[in-house]
């Protein structure tokens, strides 16, 4: 891959090395190699069933690959459980929103702060003093950094389960951001949104990636080719467990196999809404 050649070692935030994943005899991933550099938006595209979400689940720790290694900051994290990976700074959103429906928007985002909070059972049940102060500090962070960024001030006290889908997606992004992650996995953040919401969400992704405050490295799994090609620094194309190409959007668009496997004969932008 032309793009990977000029890579310095400590630029790499996450590396998948020869990852294999089988479900019974079905091969979901067959030897995937992927390097994600600090500060980039790296998209993963591919037809339905290509193994994109499986790959995200592996990065995230929900699945353990049968073969291969995952390195995060040059550290092997094969054995880390999902919550330990979250503590390392890997956050994610899900394809189908997996918010905590019974909690308010604010509580959902507060929950994202979990790894940064310290109070336990005893200080929590007394509340006055340490816990109260901690809650106020983190509330300030949530209000000023996240709720303000995502423009969800008006719904902060509403239970998430009662919100429309687009807002739920936004809350889910907010919850992932509250973790203060270094690597953010966005699993189809635009699926099922209308044009205006897509534009908003794309803007948020750019903000999170480029703003000095955040500088979060993003892995973007998406079907909306227009957005993928516009936002990404690199695009990784997956077809039924096999990598086709990992390169810049320009390289990907002109790759004959990609056109055959995924984009089709028609215009690349045909899928754009």
């Amino acid at each position: 891959m032309a793009a990977s050649d000029d890579l310095k070692e400590n630029d790499v935030l996450l590396e998948l090395e020869d990852v294999h994943m089988f479900f019974g005899k079905v091969c979901a991933l067959a030897g995937v190699n992927l390097k994600i550099r600090k500060g980039e938006i790296h998209s993963v595209i591919g037809p339905n069933g290509a193994g994109k979400t499986v790959m995200m689940n592996i990065i995230n720790g929900l699945y353990t690959p049968q073969k291969g290694n995952i390195y995060y900051k040059q550290r092997n994290i094969n054995k880390h459980r999902p919550f330990q990976r979250a503590e390392l700074g890997i956050a994610r959103t899900f394809q189908k929103v997996e918010v905590f429906g019974g909690m308010t928007v604010l509580d959902n985002i507060r929950l994202g702060r979990h790894i940064h909070l310290k109070s336990g059972i005893i200080s929590g049940s007394i509340y006055v003093g340490k816990t109260a102060q901690e809650e106020i500090e983190h509330r300030t962070f949530i209000e000023e950094e996240i709720i303000d960024l995502l423009e969800i001030e008006h719904i902060r006290h509403k239970p998430v389960g009662m919100l429309p889908y687009g807002l739920q997606k936004r809350v889910e992004l907010g919850r992932a951001l509250a973790l203060d992650p270094e690597l953010l996995i966005l699993d189809e953040p635009l699926a099922g949104l209308n044009l205006e919401e897509v534009e908003d969400m794309a803007r948020f992704v750019i903000d999170i990636n480029e703003e000095e405050r955040w500088k979060v490295t993003c892995i973007l799994v998406e079907h909306d080719m227009g957005v993928v090609m516009d936002l990404s620094d690199h695009v990784f194309v997956l077809n039924f467990g096999n990598m086709i190409i990992d390169g810049t959007p320009g390289e990907v668009q002109n790759h004959p196999e990609v056109i055959k496997a995924y984009l089709g004969e028609e215009d690349l932008y045909a899928t754009r809404r």
């Binding site: 995230n60 929900l62 459980r81 999902p82 919550f83 979250a86 503590e87 956050a91 994610r92 899900f94 997996e98 918010v99 905590f100 429906g101 019974g102 909690m103 308010t104 509580d107 507060r110 929950l111 994202g112 979990h114 790894i115 909070l117 310290k118 109070s119 336990g120 059972i121 200080s123 929590g124 049940s125 007394i126 509340y127 816990t131 109260a132 809650e135 106020i136 509330r139 300030t140 209000e143 006290h157 239970p159 919850r175 992932a176 973790l179």
Partner: protein, 366 residues
Amino acid sequence: MSTTWLPCGTYHQNYVHDHAWWQTKFIKAKMILLLIILFVIIPLVADSYGLSILNLVGYTILGAIGVQLLIGFCGQITLGHAAFIAVGAYTSTLLILEFPWPKILMDWGLAYPISILIAAIVSGAWSVLFGLPCARVKGFYLILTTMAAQFITVDFIITGYVSQIGGRGQAFSLPPGTIKIGPWVIDSDLKVYFVMLVLVIVCVIGVLNLIRSRVGRAWIAIRDNDISAEVMGINVIKYKLLAFYVAGFIGGVAGAFWISNLAAISPEHFPWFWSLWLVGVILIGGVGSIHGTIFGSVFMVVVMEMLQLAVIPLADIYPKLLVDFLFIKEAVFGLAICVFMIFEPNGLAYRWWQMKNYFNLWPFSY
């Protein structure tokens, strides 16, 4: 459902205000009035019968909070909570009767308060032991493992072995004057009532605080969606066990409290039906709400007492009612759960919320 409606023109100026429990002066006044009613007016006006019913309500609340925590907040269905109440009661009783307390602690009347604390800790540890399967199983399977807790603890260990300690046979009698807090001997319904009030208020406040801080949010997250909870950095197994611990702890407090109201305890005080009863209480009160637990406890105890009052005069006409009273009680319990599940699945807490909103928003409907 916990939003407080602020009166027109009142706004939160800072986060401290927004995080407060009692957000307006009016609510504060109402709560202080409630405390005055509980601590001053009820003891003045209630007779011994009324107080004993209130004590039963308090006991039910203490027991049901633990169940509410597990089912309503952490999503771990339990049908063996009476076991942990029994562990608390027996630990406390054994400590009082058998433990060689230093004289100074006896003189200061600290034996019973300390035994409540130890009973709670032991009962929490016992609860964690039977909560361990929750690392592997969910839902219906967890119900079975918690039922195992009930049968192993009460029917096997307590009946078979613990009750034999001291050679008294099946029941441990608590001689008058053994239950003492400070200078007060807990020997009347009124004194039990005050102990109950303090314990219920402390436990309710503790649990409410937990629910609005880090640990409680983690529990609610596990209830709503355990996979994404784990992805957000929550050690799911640890927090599930923590929920079992806190539930067992409060169960232990309930058991240790209840011996102050009894002359003797025996395994029959903690049947499996009592575990089921506590689940019924939270279903009727409202799953996932602490004041629902309180409403449910009041409702169930009061309904059962009314039933008793109704049956006694009718027994003159139809004596079999009295003989079969236990069956009637259980039938009414089942019926109440059915009726609530069909007509108000969110429980009494939701009705309360609706009523409050109606009056807060009056004369408009929104």
